[in-house]
Amino acid sequence: MKLTRTKAFKTFAGPAWTNNPINMQMLGICSALAVTIQLNTALVMTLAMTFVITMASLIISLMRNLIPDNIRIIVELAVIAALVVLTDEFLRAYYYEMSRMLSIFVGLIITNCIIMGRTEGFALGNPPHLAVMDGLGNGVGYGSVLLSVAFLRELFGSGSVFGYTVIPQSFYNVGYEDMGFMLLAPAAFIIIGLMAWLQKYLAGVDDDEA
């Protein structure tokens, strides 16, 4: 069987592209607005979020036959919260500056609706290997949007990529200016809107039929 036909691959590729949590399902927008001014913060946020969603999916999936039905939401939340606190502690110990830049947004991963949605909607009813693929796929899908938005915002807002200036001085000399608007949250809204439009167009989704 070809790799692209396996169920595991489909589970991964779905959320990463055709069912992208941000562009297609419009989830997790709040953090996508907040941490996309620079690529650095967006990258760390992507890694943190991918770690949390993959581990949470794995743990919930492993325990799916044990978790009592009536407290399952609390259990999911406790597992996610514990993973987020671990990530935050780790960042504060090893990447102090980064953790200061991300400030409260690492903590807010707990409330990221994508994670809660995937553990409740997928991991609880699927075997661990699929749950991990689903977590990774959502992490990649979320991260790719985050990084694209951050790339555009940093390039046009600050004239740099990953903190390195890429717009040559000669541009500024002839009158080019960084777009201050790109550094504000509404800019991220507009970029995400345009990206959602582009992706839905490419994937051939017609909202009227859905």
Partner: protein
């Protein structure tokens, strides 16, 4: 086992496991985190007097070496004397950091701990040895709203303070104030040396910071006066 008992047993077990895990992680990582906080504190003191640059990275060792060499902690009495900081059983003194270059004081640094809108704002304000010009300002900790009051941690806001004066032309104490918006538009020309640009959408944070700076600088005013009159002496037994 009934559903109810099963739920309770599961919940208790989960709490114990997660509790142990988080306590373990927090305890194990605490020494590293405290080192980072201490390093950050020192770095901010050095930043306030321009000994390090915001655009460059430094190792913990570089920061520690520079700090040990140039910065010393003293106490300031109510009459403006500089004394050794630790003096038990005597009147309490205000902590004051001195940037000493070749045995002369280059600048002094005042720790800022004041109330913001949501929590404490901490940082350092460095003043030149003339007792009236701000050398630099840094913020180490705050809990203002990200994107609004949280902008006080931005470079432009902190660099805003450099060269501002805490006294007017007659030599009277006026502190440094955060303007509502751009200084050039909002403040009459003769007051501009005492105002820094404010953050749009963060009027309250600006007002709180203005009040806090005024109160704190007023407490340090006796020392500042001595600096202005060039009557400052280091304590005899140093080190």
């Amino acid at each position: 086992m009934s559903d109810m008992t099963k739920s309770i047993v599961f919940a208790v077990a989960m709490c114990v496991v997660l509790g142990l895990l988080l306590t373990g992680a927090a305890t194990a990582l605490q020494p590293l985190q405290e080192k980072n906080v201490e390093n950050d504190r020192r770095k901010n003191i050095l930043l306030a007097v321009d000994l390090v640059s915001r655009d460059q990275r430094y190792t913990h060792e570089e920061i520690a070496a520079l700090y040990e060499e140039k910065i010393e902690l003293f106490g300031a009495t109510q009459t403006g004397e500089i004394v050794q900081e630790v003096r038990p059983d005597e009147e309490p003194v205000l902590p004051i950091y001195l940037y000493i270059e070749n045995d002369t004081i280059n600048a002094y640094i005042v720790p800022i701990d004041t109330q913001g809108v949501w929590g404490e704002i901490s940082g350092y304000l460095a003043i030149d040895a003339d007792g009236s010009t701000v050398r630099g300002f840094t913020i180490t900790r705050h809990s203002e709203t990200p994107g609004l009051g949280g902008e006080i941690e931005r470079q432009w806001f902190q660099e805003n303070f450099e060269g501002k004066r805490i006294v007017d032309r007659q030599g009277t104490f006026v502190s440094v104030r955060v303007a509502r918006g751009d200084v050039e538009r909002q403040v009459p020309e003769e007051d501009r040396p005492h105002y820094v640009d404010g953050i749009s959408g963060a009027t309250l944070t600006g007002r709180k910071l203005t009040e806090g700076l005024e109160q704190i600088l007023w407490r340090y005013e006796p020392v500042s006066i001595k600096f202005r009159d060039n009557r400052i002496d280091l304590p005899a037994e140093r080190g």
